[in-house]
Amino acid sequence: MSPSALPDGDPAPASGRLPASALEGLADIDLGIYVHVPFCTVRCGYCDFNTYTVTELGGRGPHGAAVGVDTYADVALREVDLARTVLGDQSPTVSTVFVGGGTPTMLPSADLVRVLDGIRQRFGLASDVEVTTEANPDSVTPDSLRELSEGGFTRVSIGMQSAVPHVLATLERTHDPDNVARAVSAARDAGLQVSLDLIYGTPGESLSDWRRSLDAVVALAPDHVSAYALVVEAGTKMAAQVRRGEVAMPDDDDEADKYELADELLTAAGLGWYEVSNWARSPATRCRHNIAYWSGTNWWGIGPGAHSHVGGVRWWNVKHPSAYAARLADAVSPAHARETLTAEQRHDERMLLGSRLVSGLPLEEVRGPGRTAVAGLIADGLVDGTSALSSGRVVLTRRGRLLADTVVHRLLAP
């Protein structure tokens, strides 16, 4: 059950320094900061995220550095220091902060706020900064949420996953479904925007189970919804269960049905899609940090296994929390490897990522043969004809969103 493997890449320098080309125009591009909190009370069977339980970490890690829930905020702040050094004085103020995990709310709210304060001190926060934390419905209270809000957090993304007990059981989610409603209302009382995270396609989940979850979501009237199809990742407990035939592999057709149902019900409830797997009450409640990933702006990922992107350089940190802490203790960049994107790779990424957004891709960015493919994509019902004609943008239809890979391949046609 090892967390997902890191990609291969080129070695990253110990200083973490970036090439001058990556820092060009830095001041004019939005900067986001992601903070990874690699702790959970238990590991869920489907999860391949880089997270560890207290037992797994066993107090002191193999690299000798003490790392744990109580010390993590200080370790993370060291990387914030590093980020400030590497990005230098040209760095803009931070537009978005997103704390994910793991289970960020395993940390005391005071620690989360302390990390945010650290970012504010070193970089400054934009006046309209968006600050999100993921939260487990069981590990938040009205007080902890208020503390976050007062500390500068603006959003909370609650890991609801499903409203159906047997689905939660298969996912090995231990939270009490009733706690979701309590968390939502406490967050709202604290002045936080609320997003609900859902998973569909869990083995054993029927279409009506899924409808029940969606109905529950609609009833809670969140500002934002993320719904992700379950992917059985190699190396997870669930993958082993599938291999042994204990649970069924999620079926693409079933997931397609569920996606269509979600899009239908959420749209009807006033939540519009803005990215393949994300819906928002209004453009103002879209997750700007999430959009940054898809639009290719800059972000720095703090924490073990976190990924970063600045000016066409992508890098990722060592995975184990103790190795991560040890590097920082030695004033060495925790980056495990990096890659500098070629022009072609940047173009491919642009097509791959931009096509997932409701804003779509400007037609003029689609190259030669890919552009002639657009007519065919419209004819096949994968690209919205009106957007293409009236605003010159390639925007996916509902069917097209489900077949986004096909669309991208056709847009990249040689």
Binding site: Y34, D252, V276, Q345, D348, L352, A404, H409
Partner: protein
């Protein structure tokens, strides 16, 4: 380690340990090694013994041959060790066996009085596989006797048996030998019985050797001298020499191996190839011992090589007779046959831009393979390639492997098929080497080639084999018990069935114990039809097949089912149909794909996602378009592959 270190300083292998003139040389002791060798072109036929070794692929022929080379002093012990070490890499099989199509070895044997006489032994190599029966027959025709070498732990195999019969038909004297007697699993008594039953004689006459330890090899050499007849021929007649092998060498051009029957061949003279009447100058003539040693000619009964400067083995064909241009023989030695391709397959480069490279590679292989024929072919599904004719499946496999390994080509080969002769109602005849040539009109008659197959297996499998042969349209010709628990079964079978999956099935139904050999045995009229496979209504020529009417339905269902598994779902539904003419006999459906998007992108790991895209992009390049349907190359390979034929020898 000392030996290994010594390898670097070894004398060049081209230097024979004892040259003909060096008669007083004293060699370190290996007992009756000849003190001097007999000079080529001056050896009385009485002192010549020509033999080959008939053996199954892993029954130890090379090891025994090496041991003979060592004991006769042709290769010294130190060089032999080096050679043995070389066997670790790919050169190993090629090393001595390829270079030594015919090795001349001196051997001193004692007569009744104990007096030693030096003889000249020519060991002629035989190709060891099923598709090269003709080449084997020519090698055998160059010999007076054969060593029948059988693994004492495994017994005789069908292949060996077939070659043994061939040798017996050629009136060769057979010396039965059990090898690997040093193995714990050896059962020499059991297999001596079996051999005695096959060739007649007493089980005790069966020699027992170990090529590995050398045990029994000296007595074997003595027996070769004693038992095999000396060659006979007319020394004064015009020369007649039979070509039993012909090999293209990058530096020398074609090296031709001959056995002189009558007369004499000398360097610089003009020679004539009797089948083509082509005249060449003999640039070089000599013997191999174990490297080529040019000499002043070859006389009656001798075996050696000649070089004329031709660049293509087609100009120097196995089975042909060589004679003097100045004093040509009236009649050739007989037995020459043009190689005739029996199995055809389309070879297509996976990357279409490799087409010129494939053409060049085939042109090169052709220089060394007189049986290889090909012509350009265009397939709607597979693009440009070649229709290639082979002697059989193994030949196909060898050529394909060489194209891939030596020339670095990635190839798709279509389902191999045999040749059919179709006569239409209007009397028009069509020779079909490709299912796409199968005529559409009303058909009066179709004939297909058949083979005479020999199957050897433990007797417990008789039932299973009979059932299989029945299914494969075989008819039993006869059956014999080789020993209490081993049976030889003889069948007539359509070659098409062998080409399809017979060997696979045979192996699986006999848990790998059965061995198979076959040779062509004419044609028969059969009730055959062409089954076409359609994707979204478009015929995919690569999947079409000519099959027996009773098998058409099975083939259609099997291929449609296979393709359904192999072709990924597309944006639209793809019907797969199997049809005979306009009649649909099987149908499958590939449902349209509805979702391929990865929902999330965890923690900003875009790299992983992009790498997936790049991998898919690479994959797209390996897609062939059939109409609008994208078919991965792998699907062609998997649907067309007849895996079971690999490794058959």
């Amino acid at each position: 380690m000392g030996d290994l270190a010594g390898r670097a300083t070894l004398e060049p292998p081209g230097l024979p340990p004892s040259t003909p003139t060096n008669s007083c040389e004293v060699r370190p002791t290996v007992s009756p090694m000849a003190r001097s060798a007999l000079a080529p072109n001056a050896t009385p036929p009485d002192l010549i013994r020509n033999f080959c070794i008939i053996a199954h692929i892993d029954h130890g022929k090379s090891t025994l041959a090496d041991r003979m080379l060592q004991l006769t002093g042709v290769v010294d012990a130190r060089a032999m060790r080096a050679q043995y070490l070389d066997r670790m890499d790919i050169e190993r099989e090629r090393g001595i066996t390829i270079k030594s199509q015919a090795v001349r070895m001196p051997w001193a044997a004692a007569d009744e009085t104990g007096a030693l006489t030096t003889y000249c032994l020519n060991m002629i190599d035989t190709p060891g596989h099923v598709d090269f029966t003709y080449e084997v027959s020519r090698s055998l025709a160059a010999c007076e006797g054969a060593v029948l070498l059988v693994d004492a732990a495994q017994g005789i195999e069908a292949q060996t048996l077939a070659n043994l019969y061939l040798a017996m038909e050629n009136d060769l004297t057979i010396i039965p030998v059990l090898n690997k007697i040093d193995l714990p699993a050896a059962q020499p008594e059991k297999y001596a019985e079996e051999l005695a039953r096959l060739i007649g004689g007493d089980p005790d006459d069966c020699l027992r050797v170990s090529g590995k330890t050398g045990e029994g090899v000296e007595p074997l050499l003595d027996q070769i001298v004693k038992l095999l007849p000396a060659p006979t021929g007319d020394a004064d007649a015009p020369a007649r020499a039979m070509i039993f092998d012909s090999v293209y060498d990058t530096y020398r051009g074609v090296v031709t191996y001959v056995r002189v029957v009558d007369g004499n061949l000398s360097p610089r003279e003009k020679i004539v190839m009797m089948s083509t009447r082509a005249t060449h100058e003999l640039l070089e003539i000599g013997v191999i011992s174990p490297e080529p040693v040019p000499g002043n000619g070859l006389g009656v009964g001798e075996v050696g090589y000649l070089i004329t400067g031709v660049k293509d083995v087609r100009q120097s064909r196995v089975g042909d007779t060589v004679t003097n241009a100045g004093k040509p023989a009236k009649h050739d030695l007989g037995g020459y046959r043009d190689p005739k391709p029996m199995v055809f397959s389309g070879l297509f480069p996976i990357d279409g831009s490799d087409y010129p490279a494939l053409r060049d590679a085939l042109d090169k292989l052709k220089l060394n393979d007189a049986a290889l024929v090909y012509e350009p072919e265009t397939s709607a599904a597979l693009g440009f390639g070649f229709r290639v004719g082979f002697l059989g499946l193994l030949h196909l496999e060898i050529v394909r492997e060489r194209l891939e390994r030596e020339f670095g080509l990635d190839l798709i080969s279509t389902q191999p098929n045999v040749v059919y002769d179709v006569v239409l109602d209007d009397g028009k005849a069509v020779h079909v080497t490709n299912p796409s040539e199968y005529p559409d009109g009303k058909i009066r008659e179709v004939t297909e080639p058949v083979v005479r197959a020999t199957i050897l297996a433990p007797s417990e499998f008789v039932g299973a084999i009979m059932e299989l042969c029945q299914q494969k349209r075989g008819s039993l010709r006869g059956m014999d018990y080789l020993s209490e628990d081993r049976v030889e079964m003889r069948y007539t079978l359509p070659l098409a069935e062998i080409v399809f999956d017979f060997f696979d099935q045979l192996k699986s139904r006999t848990r790998g114990y059965a061995s198979l050999d076959y040779e062509l045995d004419g044609d028969q009229v059969s009730d055959l039809v062409k089954v076409e496979i359609l994707l979204q209504g478009e015929t995919v020529d690569a999947f079409s097949a000519i099959v027996h009417k009773d098998k058409a339905y099975n083939y259609g269902v099997m291929m449609a089912g296979k393709l359904k598994e192999l072709i990924p779902r597309q944006q639209f539904e793809v019907p797969i149909q199997a049809a005979i003419g306009s009649r649909i006999i099987a149908r499958e459906n590939i449902r349209a794909i509805r979702k391929d998007v990865l929902a999330k992108c965890y923690g900003g790991d875009i790299s992983r996602k992009r790498k997936l895209l790049e991998k898919q992009k690479e994959g797209k390049k390996r897609m062939k378009m059939v109409g609008r349907v994208e078919v991965p190359q792998e699907a062609f390979v998997a649907a067309l592959s007849s895996d079971g034929d690999k490794g058959k020898k």
